[in-house]
């Protein structure tokens, strides 16, 4: 178990967070969202609210609609029904430019044809519709420098991204999102393919971003243990939201199986490794 992770337990944060939460503005509101693709219902009747400064983890087995939910929230998939508002705006609205950061699975997995340094990559995070025709000014350069320092890649700022380790590439991708000044960061499986030590340091980074920088974080992950340790709230998704609540109260595996309508935890159809908490 990765119990040696040096972050404050989420229960404590909850206590502190509860005070702010009353006044925190709503960052995200999803109501009655359903997405059907090629005749198949992927997600059904999702209702979800997130406040500014919250760290929410979305967990669920493969094909449970996690990525579909996030891609719909971001505005890349058209829902059949439902409403999505981010800071009171429809997805992809102009007013949201620069307020949202997206760290996709592809972000740390650049095509091998691309030769680019960490600094050049992070700089791309500062490009938006109003400055894309101009060379980076001092403010953008400062943001790039700060973002690289924040994720701990200062010594590697002129290194070719393809020469970095998986965890370092993930950090570079997070830095790119940070450099855009995003308040709300979406991450899709940032912990895949990294070793335990790297995983813990990435979680520490996300925890810092949430608590010290007041970033709102919505993260998809297979890693239930990680989510329990870091997120304020966990959403268990399997076409519908089966659980939505504080991570401290997240059901154990037997309860989870019951929620999912599965009699036996060791059912061959589900892969639950209790040893490392990966669904």
């Amino acid at each position: 178990m990765a119990s040696n992770i040096e972050i404050s337990p989420p229960q404590d944060k909850h206590g502190e967070q509860n005070l702010d939460k009353k006044t925190s503005p709503i960052a995200l509101e999803v109501s009655n969202l359903s997405v059907v693709r090629s005749g198949k219902v992927i997600i059904h009747d999702i209702n979800l609210k997130m406040k500014s400064g919250e760290f929410v983890g979305i967990v669920g087995p493969n094909g449970s609609g996690k990525s579909t939910l996030v891609l719909s929230i971001l505005g890349f998939l058209k829902p059949q029904t439902g409403e999505i508002e981010i800071y009171g705006n429809a997805p992809l609205s102009k007013t949201l430019n620069g307020r949202i950061g997206w760290v996709s699975q592809a972000a740390s997995n650049l095509p091998k044809e691309v030769t680019i340094t960490v600094e050049e990559l992070v700089m791309l995070g500062t490009v938006n519709s109003s400055n894309m025709l101009f060379w980076p000014n001092s403010d953008r350069k400062k943001r790039v420098k700060e973002a690289i320092e924040k994720v701990g890649l200062k010594e590697h700022s002129t290194t070719d991204v393809s020469k970095l380790s998986g965890g370092q590439r993930q950090r570079a991708a997070i830095a790119k999102a940070l450099a855009s000044n995003a308040e709300f960061i979406f991450l899709d499986e940032p912990l895949v393919g990294v070793d335990r030590k790297t995983r813990n340091s990435l979680l520490k980074l996300l925890d810092d971003l949430c608590h010290n920088e007041n970033k709102t974080i919505l993260m998809i992950s297979h890693d239930l243990t990680a989510m329990r340790q870091t997120a304020h709230r966990i959403i268990y998704l399997e076409e519908e939201i089966k659980y939505d609540g504080p991570s401290s109260e997240f059901p154990n595996f037997a309860e989870l199986a019951a929620i999912r309508g599965i009699q036996q935890v060791h059912d061959a159809n589900i892969v639950i490794k209790e040893s490392d908490g990966v669904i």
Binding site: K94, T115, I116, L124, V127, M132, L133, D160
Partner: protein, 308 residues
């Protein structure tokens, strides 16, 4: 007087100054004679813009886009010749831009993958061109469009008319400006289109503009190296640079250096051994690629040995 001719007037004295320093028997002509100076300028300018564009094409994994559009432009040239156009390259430009937009649309709508859509347009318009030319030729011995088309397939750098130079310089300068200004937006779109869209970059418009620039550059290069060899200048220097660069900036700079060496070296060899300029330049780019890859492998093996 077009922009190409004006530019040549400006640098012509410099070239004449360099002429006595140039090696070889025939090669110095490129620095002395106005007509040959036009060829030299066209080749250098086309290589500069091809290098910049090629770096992006390599990163987008669209190395064959240049080849595809070159063949499309051949179809356009054929139509232009049959319609009796004095500058069939304008038809080529129109064809290439339309094809580029269509290929882009097929890809973004996920109707076809990149390679397949390029292949269809490549062969389709090439076939159209050949069919039309053959039909137009008929039994007439006077009108021989197939002979005219030769220079567009293999390039005819040494016969560079003033309006040809004007077209190349105009297209190159506009394309270079667009690529320089849009550099970050194109790169962000290439690396992660969804993230770019979220940041507020108009991804589709950027892609469209990039496609149009690619089409224009390819057409302007057809006259220099020929439709069959456009890829040599567009892709090979950039691919060579990628082998030895560690940043986007260094790959841009190295591409320019390799491109420049290829053009000058290719023209020198062509003039001394009396070979075709376009294909010699293309050959030099390939040889440089081979040398770089081999040297790199030998170097890597040597480094591994010393480490052990």
């Amino acid at each position: 007087m077009g922009i190409g001719v004006i530019l040549l007037e400006l640098i012509s004295p410099l070239l004449e100054l360099l002429a006595p320093l140039m090696p070889g028997d025939t090669f110095p002509i490129f620095f002395k004679l106005k007509m040959a100076q036009r060829s030299l300028l066209a080749a250098i300018i086309a290589t500069i813009v091809a290098g910049f564009l090629g770096t992006f094409l390599i990163m987008k994994n669209q190395a064959l886009m240049g080849d595809g559009l070159a063949h499309v432009s051949f179809g356009g040239v054929a139509v232009g010749i049959i319609l009796g156009a004095t500058s069939p390259l304008w038809y080529a430009l129109l064809f290439a831009i339309i094809a580029s937009i269509c290929i882009n649309e097929l890809q973004t709508r996920e109707i076809l993958t990149g390679d397949a859509s390029i292949a269809i347009f490549l062969t389709g318009t090439l076939a159209l061109g050949l069919v039309l030319l053959k039909v137009a030729e008929g039994d007439s011995s006077q009108f021989q469009p197939l002979a005219q088309i030769h220079s567009y397939l293999f390039g005819d750098l040494l016969v560079m008319p003033e309006d040809g130079l004007d077209l190349i310089v105009l297209v190159s300068i506009i394309s270079l400006l667009i690529l320089a200004i849009m550099r970050n937006a194109i790169l962000a779109t290439t690396i992660d289109p969804l993230a770019a869209r979220i940041q507020g970059i108009p991804v589709r418009r950027v892609e469209l503009l990039f496609g149009i620039v690619t089409a224009a550059v390819v057409v302007s290069m057809v006259k220099v190296v020929g439709a069959l060899l456009v890829t040599a200048l567009l892709v090979t220097p950039a691919a060579t640079a990628r082998q030895i660069s560690s940043s986007f900036r260094s790959s841009l700079i190295l591409t320019q250096i390799i491109g420049f060496i290829s053009v000058i070296g290719g023209l020198y060899i062509a003039s001394e051994i009396n070979s075709a300029a376009g294909s010699t330049i293309a050959l030099v780019t390939a040889v440089i690629f081979g040398i770089v890859v081999m040297t790199k492998s030998i170097y890597n093996v040597a480094v591994k040995k010393t480490e052990n």
